[in-house]
């Protein structure tokens, strides 16, 4: 059985002129010339004030008192604000977060007060003068300790927080959400299985490390309108949360405006609202002045979202013929001090923790556990990267145990169209088998490689991945489109150009429908006053969702064009088409009406009057086939996910047996894009995601001391890849099994490309050395010590 989709987009057409081409990015010139403006590059004039944040030095403490008098008296200080000024809570999916700490601090670095001064230097100096007295409490830093029966409570009032209906917080515990899946009979299946493997895998926290730090400039003008310029993936969601959180100050949504210029990388870290609420609150405290809050790299690390750590307890049962019969996956997430966004990562992982396999008997428990570490949140991969590490390591181990080739084992069990999903729905069309075969061929799976260097050894690994967008069931996108006098087009959308090429892809979709060259379409970053709604640029959903909204707007514009041509010339709509910036007609080859002649001014008729006028259109898309209503105890009954994108990854690595150093000699990654609107940009997602994923397994790692303090909040000790840290050869493979409801068949690929990177390395290390490492990262040190220890044992 396959899902039926209420909206069927244009079918994939061989005669495409804009879609499917490696069009040059429409923002390329901006970015290469220095013209591209990011929030910090905007000028606000001489009355711009600067904010600095007073932070908690403790992971858990009660605030006894705050003395701001010395700071208020410091040179240049305009205002000092604390939690007393903003006693509000807010949050994306659960309102457990505070603008400034209220009575308690729950992680090192949490904002306790804000100082606003004439200059940045004055603000930073004055912030050091705010005196806060704390009663220090024992922090909880480990999710397994935090779920213990007698653990102290990090949020005693958890039961009072408002939250979305698909969350199930357990009051009087540290469990903020517990996603359960129960399907079939796992107990029976494990009893009947020929082989059962059970083990625990550990994944630490990671940082997004967009090179642009978070920056916010807020201004409450004297007419009462709040404008906030943010480096954000989520302008409309931010506007909504600002308006809601600050509602006691009397804001209507129409009075709050979010403007988001180019964003210097997001990766999930700039989704939702994190530090931006501090900037918005500061703006309300200094009416009439713009105030800028720019996080330092250190703050970027410890007080914006982090990727959550997880302890994954996994049990899988198989038959000797290689059929997987049961999966039991328990995920204990280190979700941090506030989980308003991170709890949905937990939810998404829980729904899909079988991985891309056909599994008849499932028991998933995904627990969102409060700890006294910085708030977890969205990060490219959204929980999937984390659980795939253990899951895909496990699959290799099982294949070996039953004497099956790991690629054959995966091919046998890979989920395909129509297979039942863990929550009861059915799998969408998927090119998984093609992805597996092409990946295996690209790395010459089955052919042993010999190293020429006596110190090194070669290894190969494979891993599969899948991911669905994690969204509210009614997350929507919208677009406006208008023609200009010369037949060029402006498209307004509110998805964000994070670098993925969103603006270019939207331009290609509009250009395709309207018969225009891509260069004739301008798409810019949004302003919530002028651009139509977009939920957020997350979940790898905008090519699909916003793309559909743009496609619909373009189709509407095309219909209006045909309507005026019909009215004036009498051609029937079905005979008309757009090509080369002209309207043409299948029944009259001579007819070719340039768009520029009428899309604003209309067409003059024989009697001298005019028909038509400016061609404008709009489009919107909301998935109308999803719902998040399911049984809390089994997860059955809903249809929470719109579709899954799948793929496979394979590597050839070389390892120095003594030092443990790994060189990735070759990495192939195949992803089923449905339809690559711009193959060059899809390849960009593959190379970029792959390298980001490889870094998480090879060296990246947030390190906290016993007091919950982050020890490496900088690039000196949190290493992200340089130009030397990439595979010698990367082989991007685009699979195209169309998504029936996608624009031209497209589905998202942005996050997926990093998901398989961790297990593929774990599997290749095992393949080379026979050492199985079950905690990330798999550093050269870990390998070297494991190899020598094995020799000693």
């Amino acid at each position: 059985m396959t899902t039926t989709y209420p909206f069927e987009a244009d079918s994939v057409d061989d005669a495409l002129t804009a879609v499917g081409t490696p069009a040059v990015r429409i923002d390329g010139l901006d970015k290469i010339s220095g013209a591209a403006q990011f929030v910090d590059d905007l000028d606000f004039g001489p009355d711009l004030l600067h904010g600095a944040v007073v932070e908690s030095p403790h992971a858990y403490a009660r605030i006894v008192s705050i003395d701001t008098s010395a700071a208020e008296a410091a040179p240049g200080v305009v205002k000092v604000i604390t939690g007393e000024d903003f006693p509000y809570n807010f949050g994306m999916y659960m309102e457990d977060r505070y603008i400034f700490a209220q009575h308690h601090v729950r992680f090192v670095g949490e904002q306790v007060a804000g100082v606003i001064a004439r200059t940045h230097r004055q603000a930073v100096r004055a912030a050091k003068l705010v005196e806060v007295e704390y009663e220090v409490l024992e922090p909880l830093l480990d999710p397994k300790e935090a779920v213990a029966e007698d653990a102290p409570l990090i949020h005693p009032n958890l039961g009072d927080y408002a939250h979305v209906p698909w969350f199930f917080p357990k009051a009087d515990t540290n469990i903020a959400h517990w996603r359960k899946i129960r399907k079939g009979d796992t107990e029976k299946a494990f009893a009947e299985a020929d082989y059962v493997l059970e083990d625990t895998y550990r994944v630490p926290r990671y940082a997004h490390c967009a090179i642009e730090p978070h920056v916010t400039v807020g201004k409450l003008d004297h007419a009462g309108r709040l404008t906030v310029w943010t480096a954000s993936q989520s302008p409309h969601t931010q506007r909504h949360l600002f308006a809601e959180a600050l509602a006691p100050l009397g804001f209507a949504h129409k009075d709050v405006r979010v403007i988001t210029p180019y964003v210097g990388g997001g990766f999930g870290g700039k989704a939702g609202v994190s530090m931006e609420i501090i900037g918005a609150a500061m703006a309300t405290a200094v009416k009439g002045h713009p105030v800028k809050l720019r996080f330092t790299r250190e703050q970027e690390f410890y007080n914006t979202y982090q990727r959550q750590g997880v302890v994954a307890e996994l049990k899988v049962g198989v038959m000797n013929n290689g059929t997987i019969t049961a999966v039991e996956h328990k995920l204990y997430w280190d979700a941090g001090a506030y989980v308003e966004y991170g709890a949905n990562v937990v939810n998404a992982a829980g729904l899909s923790a079988t991985g891309p396999y056909r599994v008849p008997n499932i028991s998933n428990d995904s627990l969102c556990v409060y700890t006294n570490l910085p708030p977890g949140g969205p990060y490219r991969g959204f929980g999937y990267s984390e659980f795939h590490f253990g899951l895909e390591s496990h699959m290799d181990r099982i294949a070996e145990a039953i004497g099956m080739d790991p690629v054959d084992f995966r091919r046998k069990n890979a989920i395909v169209e129509g297979d039942e999903l863990s929550y009861g729905g059915h799998m969408n069309p998927s090119g998984m088998i093609e992805a597996i075969d092409k990946t295996a061929a690209a790395i010459e799976w089955g052919v042993d490689e010999e190293s020429k260097n006596p110190n090194t050894i070669m290894g190969k690994g494979v891993a599969l991945f899948w991911k669905a967008p994690a969204m509210p069931p009614n997350a929507s996108s919208a677009s406006f489109l208008k023609f200009n006098e010369d037949g060029s087009v402006n498209v307004s959308v509110s998805g964000m150009e994070l670098g993925q090429g969103y603006l270019t892809v939207m331009a290609q979709i509009a250009a395709e429908i309207l018969g225009l060259p891509v260069e004739m379409v301008r798409v810019e970053t949004p302003d919530t006053d002028r651009n139509p709604y977009e939920w957020q640029t997350v979940a790898s959903h905008v090519t699909w969702s916003s793309g559909l909204a743009v496609e619909k707007a373009a189709i509407e514009a095309r219909a209006k064009i045909f309507e005026v041509i019909h009215e004036v010339y009498g051609f029937e709509d079905e005979t008309l088409y757009l090509e080369d910036q002209k309207v043409k007609c299948t029944t009259d080859p001579e007819f070719a009406k340039p768009l520029r002649e009428f899309v604003i001014d209309g067409i003059q008729t024989d009697d001298g009057t005019w028909r038509g006028g400016p061609i404008i259109a709009s489009g919107k898309f909301m998935p109308e086939f999803t719902n998040a209503n399911s049984d809390p105890e089994t997860g059955q009954g809903g249809h929470p996910n719109v579709h899954y994108t799948v793929g496979a990854c394979g590597v050839l690595i070389e390892i120095d047996k003594e030092t443990g150093r790994i060189w990735v000699r070759k990495a192939a990654l195949a992803v089923d894009a449905g339809k690559a609107i711009n193959p060059d940009l899809v390849k960009g997602q593959i190379t970029g995601g792959l390298v980001q994923g490889l870094a998480t397994v090879l060296y990246e790692d947030m390190r906290f001391d016993d007091d919950g303090r982050l020890m490496n909040p900088n690039f000196t000790d949190y290493k992200i890849p340089t130009s030397f840290d990439i595979p010698d050869e990367m082989i991007p493979i685009i699979v195209e099994v169309p998504q029936p409801d996608g624009p031209f068949g497209a589905r998202g690929v942005g996050e997926h490309t990093m998901i398989a990177a961790a297990p593929v390395i774990a599997n290749a290390v095992y393949n080379a050395l026979g050492v199985r490492i079950k905690s990330m990262p798999i550093t050269q040190e870990k390998i070297a010590l494991a190899v020598t220890d094995r020799h000693h044992n």
């Binding site: 940045h120 230097r121 930073v124 100096r125 120095d656 003594e658 030092t659 150093r661 090879l698 060296y699 390190r703 020890m711 490496n712 000196t716 000790d717 290493k719 890849p721 340089t722 130009s723 030397f724 840290d725 550093t779 050269q780 040190e781 070297a784 010590l785 020598t788």
Partner: protein, 293 residues
């Protein structure tokens, strides 16, 4: 943004520099390349009243070969070393070391003398300068003096240079040699050393061995040198030297590596490094700049 405020002087002679330093002794910092100092100022790790920029003093930016001595001025940057033909010919190990320091945008400013004045345990220049029998020349209110590199490093970020002195240049004693600088890093990109070793072999089976990042300062491995002295390198001799590594070093466990990994890698680096430096002495072996680990 640097929150701390300070005064700035840019003397044009060494005399003026030492006079200013004497007047402000105790709360003054010298500025050359600035790649450490400006970062420390920004991090509030130092808070001097005065910063004295020595870049306007002429004569400190030269590399000169004088017989069997190589003089390297205190304003010579790592890039200067890398691009110097004299260095390439006579002290290629300096280049092998310099190429592991940060990245070009840092090396264009950072000086080798600044590197040993900052005196962090992972200081790259330390082990190599020890292996090259280097002398540090300083000038202060009492006139000029010199210090052996072996006596230069006193402790963590502490050197033999007093607050009122300026390093003018280094002198390396040159002889035909083969050498290596092996640096353990967390990945292929720029990194501070997790551990490092500088090795030089001179004709007549004379050796220099010094380690970085495995003690509070770079350290000369005298016992290893002693066991090697006068012996042609062979598997057994190398094994004897490697067996002494843990006696020489005192690594700690920190965020960058465990003590155990540091120790094991010092053994591996010494083993591979001795072999490579010997091959280089004989005009063979991997080209300078080739990473051995």
């Amino acid at each position: 943004m640097i929150a701390h405020e300070f005064a700035y002087e840019r003397p044009t002679t060494l005399e003026e520099a030492t006079r200013v330093l004497t007047e402000h002794s105790g709360s003054v910092r010298l500025l050359a390349g600035g790649t450490d100092l400006v970062a420390w100022l920004r991090d509030d790790a130092v808070a001097p009243d005065l910063v004295v920029d020595i870049k306007a003093i002429p004569g400190l930016d030269t590399i000169e070969l004088d017989g069997d001595e190589l003089h390297v001025g205190s304003l010579v940057t790592f890039t200067d070393l890398i691009e110097s033909e004299v260095v390439a010919e006579h002290a290629p190990l300096l280049i092998e070391m310099a190429e592991t320091v940060a990245s070009p945008g840092i090396r264009n400013r950072a000086t080798m003398v600044g590197n040993i004045c900052s005196a962090v345990p992972s200081c790259d220049a330390g082990p190599v300068l020890m292996a090259y029998d280097t002398t540090v020349h300083l000038i202060g209110p009492g006139g000029a003096r010199s210090v052996s590199i072996d006596d230069w490093f006193i402790g963590l970020r502490e050197t033999a240079c007093s607050d009122d002195e300026v390093v003018t240049h280094l002198t390396l004693a040159l002889r035909p040699h083969g050498g290596v600088y092996v640096k353990l890093m967390r990945y292929g990109g720029e990194d501070l050393a997790q551990a490092a070793v500088g090795i030089v072999e001179y004709p007549g089976h004379e050796y220099r061995v010094a380690f970085g990042a495995v003690a509070p300062t770079p350290i000369r491995a005298h016992r290893i040198e002693e066991v090697l002295r006068g012996k042609p390198l062979g598997e057994e001799v190398i094994a004897d030297a490697v067996a002494l590594v843990r006696d020489e070093i005192s690594p700690i466990t920190d965020m960058r590596a465990t003590a155990e990994y540091r120790a094991r890698m010092c053994e591996v680096m010494l083993e591979r490094g001795l072999a490579a430096s010997h091959e280089r002495l004989e005009g063979a072996g991997p080209a300078y700049g080739t990473r051995l680990i």
